[in-house]
Amino acid sequence: MAAVADVEAGAQAPAPIARPAGRRRSYPVWRWVILLLAGLYFVIPLYAALRFAGLKAFPDIFKQAGFADAIELSLRLAVITTILTLVLMVPTTIYVHLRLPQIRRTMEGITILPIVIPPIVLIIGVLKVAPGFLLSTPYLLALVYVILAMPFAYRSLDAGLRAVDLKTLTEASNSLGAGWPTTLWRVVLPNIRTAMLSATVLTVALVLGEFTMASLALYVTFPVWIVQFEQNSGPVSVAASLLALFVTWLLLMVIVTVGGQGARKRGGAQVSLFTVTPPRETSHTTGEPE
């Protein structure tokens, strides 16, 4: 009882009140320290790479033999992979949400498999079983990249679909006379635009950065070219790596800005990569100006 009495007495005294206030003040400091350390962890290598490459190396990238072919192949693969991924994953995810919501957890498990299985295992398996006509074209890589992009694309689309009342929206559209293609085009897709943009950027980033599979399949994509070219000119190779990194960052900024603006304008859920920020609370149950 004495202890309880002490605590109660202490709670009313000025000193104990000051302690929690002091702790509250210390939190932001620690946050900044952690942020600074994490920032340094990322920035120092980049700065070192920039120092090593030098600004002069950047214009040289575009003059190097094989660069144009490599970047063209990577971009072509990125476009094909993105189209295939969206064509396959958007209807699948919508179907799962509408008709088979009970298998959503299973889908999450299945779609994570490409991350769990090492890329080298995947590509060796693919190279063994792929038909001959595919082995002779780089588009085999696009098919493999679709599988690699699946975890990211599925999660982005899943997050986007969870942010809208898909069942009610599609039923409302149907009841107004719209068939499924129209409902998909005019109602569903515009409301998961940001999610599709997320899936696209993640897929493009994955394709532009993938090395193992392209290397084993003997195709010179942009990352393979960087590694090969490193033997000729280290600085230019590093400059190319930095350029790829900046382009990817730029894409991410575009998605967050454009997607965020659209979502803010309509007030819908804001979807950024895998996260969904629920729409602003509207005064659903409050009185309204009648």
């Binding site: 039923e171 409302a172 107004l176 005019r186 659903h284 149950t285």
Partner: protein, 376 residues
């Protein structure tokens, strides 16, 4: 059937444009609807078990019942979102049982906010017209008229998230009416709104429905909503209709004990049949309405509304006041009778002051009960 006096006050601005919308929306109104012997199971759950219902042209029928009684399934089958396992759906004499929702020409207002978030209020209302290939100018004019009809013409350019819940549901109503539906389906459209907005929208929906003469099926679990809005109310239980009747009949002459207890407040008193048409309860022998005690004898439960009982202060009476609820002109007094039976009695508030908690009172049954049923 009683109409809801005073409901039109807030409805329709009565403008020229609104009038045009009324004419337009009413042009295809009034199709008779028949649900015949509908059954629908989900796994082992029988959501509907032989439901039949006829709705006259221009009539508003409410389906009322507890959660899981099958009322929403019935509405969804009429809308075309579900197909019945057996039975048929007929609209205007045509069997539409296998017609997809998109081709049924039925307007629907959903329980949750169903406006398309990517479209303005005007575009939402014009969506169904767009599906009917109307030119943009005509579409926008008609959509504008419908928004005017629900008093939201100033919200035309707003997105759903910029409107309150009540406004969203009114836009949803305008959207449903824009396609000139022959049947309007309302799936608990007021349940997400607060009491004040709910009351306003309730009156507005009913007034519009009456003006346009659209055949309407309204699903709700709120009996006050059902009784105040509907021409007839169907009370459902376990996938079947227990009774379909005008609200006053449903209240005064319930067909089953379930309806009697589900609609309004009901007391159950122990009683005994005294021949085929008389019953004794609270020490009084009273007549029973014809058909309200079919084939019963011996011990029974006598069902009486709170306003059907009399109460008076009496030392050594048959009950003790245990609770009081002020309801305006009347006060509902809970009385514990001997045998641990508690009844609720409505009494004029002006005379209820004397009946404080613990007061000994005499409760009596002055007339015929609502229903007599087997002893539970």
């Amino acid at each position: 059937m009683t109409t809801n006096a005073g409901m039109t006050a807030s409805t329709g601005a009565g403008t020229k444009a609104g009038g045009g919308a009324v004419r337009a929306a009413a042009s295809g109104a009034g199709a008779p609807v028949a649900l015949h012997d509908l059954s629908r199971s989900f796994g082992t759950v029988h959501a509907l078990a032989g439901l039949s219902l006829d709705i006259a042209p221009g009539e508003l029928v409410a389906l009322l019942g507890p959660s899981g009684c099958g009322k929403t399934t019935a509405l969804r089958i009429l809308a075309g979102f579900e197909y019945a396992d057996t039975g048929s759906v007929t609209v205007d004499g045509k069997d539409v049982s296998r017609v997809p929702a998109a081709k049924r020409d039925m307007g629907m207002v959903f329980q949750s906010y169903s406006l398309f978030p990517n479209m303005t209020a005007l575009d939402n209302v014009g969506f169904g017209l767009r599906m009917r290939k109307l030119r943009a100018a005509d579409r926008n004019r008609r959509a504008g008229e419908l928004l005017d009809l629900v008093g939201l013409s100033d919200q035309a350019k707003k997105y759903p998230n910029q409107m309150s819940g009540g406004q969203q549901q009114r836009v949803a109503l305008a959207r449903a009416l824009a396609i000139e539906p022959r049947v309007l389906l309302l799936d608990e459209p007021l349940s997400a709104l607060d009491a004040k907005v709910r009351l306003q929208l309730r009156e507005q929906i009913r007034a519009l429905q009456q003006r346009l003469g659209i055949t309407t099926l309204f699903v709700t679990h709120d009996q006050e909503e059902a009784l105040s809005m509907a021409d007839r109310v169907g009370v459902m239980k376990d996938g079947k209709l227990e009774q379909v009747a005008v609200p006053s009949k449903l209240y005064a002459e319930p067909a089953t004990a379930f309806v009697a207890e589900f609609v309004g407040t009901m007391n159950r008193l122990p009683g005994q049949m005294q021949g085929p048409d008389r019953v004794i309860a609270l020490g009084t022998v009273v007549p029973v309405h014809e058909g309200s005690a079919p084939g019963l004898s011996g011990d029974v439960d006598v069902m009486v509304r709170p306003e059907g009982l009399r109460i008076a202060v009496q030392p050594g009476g048959n009950g003790i006041v245990t609770d009081r609820t002020f309801l305006g002109s009347v006060t509902r007094i809970a009385v514990r009778l001997s045998g641990d039976v508690t009844v609720k009695v409505d009494h004029l508030t002006t005379e209820a002051d004397a009946m404080s908690l613990g007061t000994s009172v005499q409760v009596s049954l002055p007339g015929a009960p609502v229903l007599v049923t087997e002893r539970r």
